[in-house]
């Protein structure tokens, strides 16, 4: 079963790249491939992941462990599930500070406190003493971000970091990520199904459908001049405050990855589809600088 197919994208230093897609689009698998955290049953059959000039897929497991700890960090949708429930926040943070920054004792504690202040947690000394179950969802996600930042990574991958949170807390986390980018020059890959979160944070967007990138471009370009019928459909089917009348929809639903349609994977649901779409996969074409699309008829979509 092939879940990803020719996924090509780049992230520049200090940039926030959004990967957007619905369930089964392969956005999480893409992130796990980059971090070398794929489940044992999954194999990367081809391609490269180049980080600062080096192919991560060629690294040994030990080398990859170091990169993952020190250069690339990842946070997940459910922060509580990613923190060890038996450890106080201090223990969790101390571990990563010892392993990756060789800090112990008082100096580790000082850095841990700084990290908690940095992610905007109130009363950091108290939080250090607490266990995950004593923290709210938003606080857990802040601790998780502190944990991910503890090793001073240059790339942070966030997989649906706000999806499990309430809207007021979601906004706080969005503001936090945006501030961390400004203050620390953090590079961020943000994976989400929520186009509004993309609108809040990202510089560039990659749209995925059934394991393929169908469109990629600067965020304004994608929102103002989408060229792939799927992107157009996604944008139009979002409910937004103050829109009256019937919502536009994309007909049908995302098929199972095991039943990926031949040719362009979107053609059975596409209003622009013609015969060629079920026969031939479209190649990536350049629309404008930095904006590319995989669609036979993108000129008609605009």
């Amino acid at each position: 079963m092939q879940v990803l197919d020719g996924v090509d994208f780049q992230v520049e230093d200090g940039e926030i790249l959004g990967i957007v897609g619905e369930s089964g689009s392969g956005k999480t698998m893409t992130a796990l491939s980059v971090t070398g955290l794929l489940p044992p049953a999954a194999k990367i059959c081809g391609g490269e992941v180049i980080f600062r000039g080096a192919n991560l897929l060629a690294l040994s497991r030990r080398q990859m462990n170091r990169v993952r700890g020190e250069k690339i960090s990842m946070i997940f949708q459910s922060p509580r599930a990613s923190l060890n429930p038996l450890y106080r926040v201090e223990t969790t943070l101390a571990q990563v500070l010892r392993t990756h920054r060789n800090l112990r004792g008082e100096s580790a504690r000082r850095v841990a406190l700084e990290l908690l202040v940095d992610v905007g947690l109130p009363d950091p000394p108290r939080v250090l003493r607490q266990y995950p179950h004593q923290l709210s969802g938003g606080m857990c996600q802040r601790v998780m971000i502190a944990y991910a930042l503890a090793s001073n990574p240059s790339l942070l991958i966030a997989d649906e970091p706000t999806t499990a949170l309430d809207v007021t807390v979601q906004l706080q986390i969005i503001q936090l990520l945006s501030r961390l980018r400004k203050e620390h020059g953090l590079t961020l890959i943000l994976i989400t199904h929520n186009l509004s979160v993309i609108a809040e944070l990202c510089d560039r967007v990659t749209v995925m459908y059934l394991g393929k990138i169908v469109e990629e471009g600067p965020v304004l370009e994608i929102f103002d001049r989408p060229r792939h019928p799927y992107t157009v459909g996604l944008l139009a089917s979002r409910p937004t405050v103050h829109v009256e009348g019937t919502l536009a929809t994309i007909p049908g639903q995302v098929p199972d990855v095991r039943e990926r349609p031949p040719g362009c994977p979107f053609h059975p649901r596409c209003p622009f589809a013609k015969e060629i779409c079920s026969e031939q996969h479209p190649v990536r074409e350049k629309v404008d600088s930095g904006h590319s699309v995989e669609c036979h008829f993108w000129r008609e979509v605009g």
Partner: protein, 331 residues
């Protein structure tokens, strides 16, 4: 127009243990008075722990309220004994957030939709197939779906089955608890459109529970905002969204992510996260988080007051500063 559903000072209190011998009360719903006119939608909006689901469950008496009254079509639901209650259940049904959780995984979905029809003896076994196909068609599914198992359907199809099951008994009132939250964006739009069509064609009355103001703005006629068990604001949809009276409503609106990257802006946010619903104070419960709080806010009880006809708010500061609905921006 008369109200199809009305709750009067509905209350649901759970006893909790706080410390060894100390008993405390958790106010899941407190002083909740709402009414919905026939064929309209009231959205109950709030974050997790606000008590919106508790209200929905108390209305259907899936949970026993500890105080107050629920009236359906003018008659009290709260005092009913089981046989009468069972008859009444035909009139009010629920659609849940996660369709897969609410469907028995080992039964074909057709059986699940047929169940209420058999229990309430609405359709004889002989006419069942035709009835089922009709119900499936109504929610946009085909006769081939009747014999499928839940896991053989996509999320959107599962929710369509959930809706068919809820509508099978021909209810007047449907409580929808986050019916689109678990769905993909493109499917969510389909379900919202379906619900709107069904409401129009079958004159349904909806209590629509959601945390998502964007979804709510598409389907609601009136909005009630809940915070820590209480309604803090009620009013017509556009009025509440355009000119909110309560700082919490303002915060919810401000926190809704922008639709377009060009709209990014600095926003006022409420600080921290909701405080505890255990033995809450008589004064405004938002005080610890409210950017506009004044000393008065923690000195007097916060009651829900009608500030303009049809618009109610629990904000003490608003009630004092904005007499007769004259809004001045808070500083």
């Amino acid at each position: 127009m008369t109200a199809l559903l009305e709750t009067r000072a509905l209350q649901k209190v759970y006893p909790v243990r706080a410390g060894l011998a100390h008993r405390a009360r958790l106010f899941a719903a407190d002083d909740v008075s709402i009414s919905i006119e026939r064929g309209r939608t009231l959205a109950l909006v709030g974050e997790s722990g606000s008590g919106k689901t508790t209200v929905g469950r108390c209305v259907l008496r899936l949970e026993e309220p500890t105080g107050g009254d629920v009236l359906l079509d003018g008659s009290s639901v709260t005092g009913l004994r089981p046989p009468q209650l069972r008859r009444l259940r035909r009139e009010m049904q629920m659609v849940y957030q996660d369709p897969l959780d609410s469907l028995n995984p080992r039964h074909p979905v057709g059986e699940l939709v047929a169940e209420p029809l058999l229990i309430h003896r609405i359709v004889p076994k002989s006419g069942m197939r035709t009835e089922l196909e009709g119900l499936f068609r109504m929610v946009g599914l085909g006769p081939q779906h009747v014999n499928r198992l839940p896991h053989q359907l996509s999320g959107g199809q599962q929710q369509r089955v959930g809706i068919a099951r809820a509508l099978a008994t021909g209810p007047k009132l449907v409580v929808l608890d986050e019916p689109t939250s678990a769905l993909d964006v493109s499917v969510q739009a389909q379900i919202i459109n379906l619900l709107r069509d069904l409401q129009r064609t079958r004159e349904l009355t909806f209590l629509f529970i959601s945390h998502d103001l964007a979804v709510v703005s598409l389907i609601a006629h009136r909005i009630a905002v809940m915070y820590l068990g209480q309604i803090v604001e009620i009013g017509p949809k556009n009025a509440v969204l355009d000119r909110p009276t309560h700082p919490y409503t303002r915060a919810l609106i401000a926190a809704t992510p922008v639709d377009h990257p060009a709209e990014r802006r600095e926003r006022i946010v409420v600080r921290g996260e909701p405080t505890s619903p255990i033995e809450p104070p008589a004064h405004c419960r938002l005080v610890p988080r409210c950017p506009f709080a004044q000393p008065i806010c923690s000195q007097v009880p916060a009651d829900l007051v009608e500030v303009v006809p049809g618009r109610w708010t629990r904000c003490v500061r608003f009630q004092r500063e904005h007499e007769n609905g004259v809004w001045e921006p808070a500083s």
